[in-house]
Symmetry: C2
Subunit: 321 residues, 2 copies
């Protein structure tokens, strides 16, 4: 485009988008035919001079969703807009809301929903509408008895999601990680526990999040792992955890021995699931999101715009006043 045309297209855009003039009126003002104005406007759009943003906490980014589906083979991708967001918390809250929306709109409605636990899932449970479905049974897919403070969060999450869907919640009465392999095997073979695991294995859908591999991980908070142990896992290549199991950037288990002592559905089960919804948001989780998506751990990803761009390899640059 020649320079004088570029300037004209900006003048036309001002009149069109800011002053709501018709292309015909603009033609009169700028002494152009209305077709020329239309072309200038089209050029301005094509050159990226016209930026249209949807400013709303519930806004999604459909073009990014599409590119993500195409690039990764996910069966669905939900990407919330990060326009006007300042804190990671708000972004995560928006993402949780979107996950709740997605769950609500899911057809067919899953009879049994396997879930993990953590801050994200808890958030999702809060954002779900009372009566979001009728008769969905919820089952935990990994050990969820917290060792200290956060007591009951895991249980609360499952119960809330189930209650809001007028269904039942089945809790996995076991720690997430056992100290000794033998204990884990013993618990696992316990009738109650085995029954829950079997139920979990037969769930029609899974909903889970992922944790970053650092001191803020829920597994550290809950007392299952010490910061030093996590640091050691990171040294071995861990980028985060999925249902309590630490994976490297290829989605492989980092520490086989630790994994053996971790009670819950194995990752392979998620990989072969028909419907596995991962909810992952926040700058710190870009790496684990990559691993989850890259290794086929989920079929549906709910995330934020920045994480999605990171997955697509287009890091966002700073802008705006």
């Amino acid at each position: 485009m020649i320079a004088t045309d570029e300037l004209l297209s900006i003048r036309a855009a001002e009149l069109y988008y800011e002053e709501n003039k018709t292309q015909d009126e603009i033609g009169t003002i700028l002494r152009l035919t209305r077709w020329k104005v239309g072309r200038l406007l089209a050029q301005a759009k094509a050159s990226g001079f016209i930026r249209i943003e949807i400013v709303h906490p519930r806004a999604r980014r459909l073009p990014i969703e599409r590119r993500l589906r195409e690039a990764t083979g996910l069966s669905d991708a939900i990407v919330v807009s990060s326009v006007g967001v300042s804190s990671d918390e708000e972004l995560q809250s928006r993402t949780a809301q979107a996950a709740a929306d997605y769950l609500t709109g899911l057809r067919p409605i899953p009879r049994t929903l396997g879930i993990s636990w953590g801050r994200t899932l808890h958030d999702v449970s809060l954002h779900l509408r009372h009566g979001w479905a009728h008769g969905v049974d919820v089952v935990q897919i990994n050990g969820g008895v917290s060792l200290n403070k956060r007591a009951g969060t895991a249980a609360t999450t499952a119960v809330t999601i189930a209650a809001k869907a007028f269904g039942t919640a089945t809790l996995l009465p076991s720690p997430a990680i056992l100290e000794r392999l033998i204990t884990k095997q013993a618990i696992e073979s316990d009738r109650a526990v085995a029954g829950v695991l079997e139920l979990a294995a037969g769930a029609s859908a899974y909903l889970y999040s992922a944790g970053q591999a650092d001191d803020h991980s829920a597994l550290v908070d809950s007392g299952y792992l010490s910061p030093a142990e996590v640091a050691e896992l990171v040294r071995k290549g861990a980028v985060g955890d999925v249902v309590g199991r630490y994976i490297d950037r290829f989605g492989n288990i980092v520490d086989a021995e630790l994994d053996e002592r971790t009670l819950g559905l194995p990752l392979e089960h998620l990989r072969s699931a028909k419907l596995a919804i991962a909810v992952i948001s926040g700058t710190a989780k870009h790496a684990v999101a990559r691993a989850v998506v890259g290794s086929g751990l989920c079929t549906v990803l709910v995330t934020d715009e920045d994480t999605a761009r990171a997955l697509l390899g287009e890091e966002e640059e700073e802008e705006e006043s």
Copy 2:
């Protein structure tokens, strides 16, 4: 708007603006009639959920220009967009560019143009196109011989503007501020100087900027005033200077004695001019811009979006990712 409609309008907006679907197609997707979709879209716009920005260094903000004209009685206002601008320098450069554009498009073309000098005016001179007009004579309206480094800037500005318009430049061969009143009176009565002042008084248009009242003022830089003297002026209420004369927020001369020793067109002359174009941009100049516009020193203002909003009393709040 009821909550469910708000959400629907966001979904519709995503499909319309991001996916370029027609309202009809959106209707099919969301199971609505196309009229309902149109109404939702209208609601989304009305609620401010749709933000359209023109991202370009030459973009102006026409609605703000209009409000500014209406609120202040200016005969014209040019407001450059500050979208995507990070530094004050860039904003000032954009504003200077806009001033150059305005000057170029001015009809009737002024025969004689009275100008001040300073960083801003220099910027404008550089942004003017060679051949921006044919035969405009330029005359300085205030003393312009610099006392130190910046030597020649004032002269260069006038000469450049004139040369690019194939006209002549008339310089005011005098300092901006004299140390003693008697000297000023003597110079003023000198044939050469008096002749220039007369020419300046008869100019068909004026173009000038304003300086902020602090150490960065061009008058301090040029050595006419010491930082201490400026500080004293500020104490007396000075918000900035216009063609070398310090004014308070009401546009009144702050120090009559100093003003007496300042050589150039009196401010009253600018106030009664048919066409006086002020170019003022940057956060530090909001106060002086208010004084200039409020006291009728200009008929046309070229400024940036932030300054314009400040004049309108709508300070911009921070936003964006």
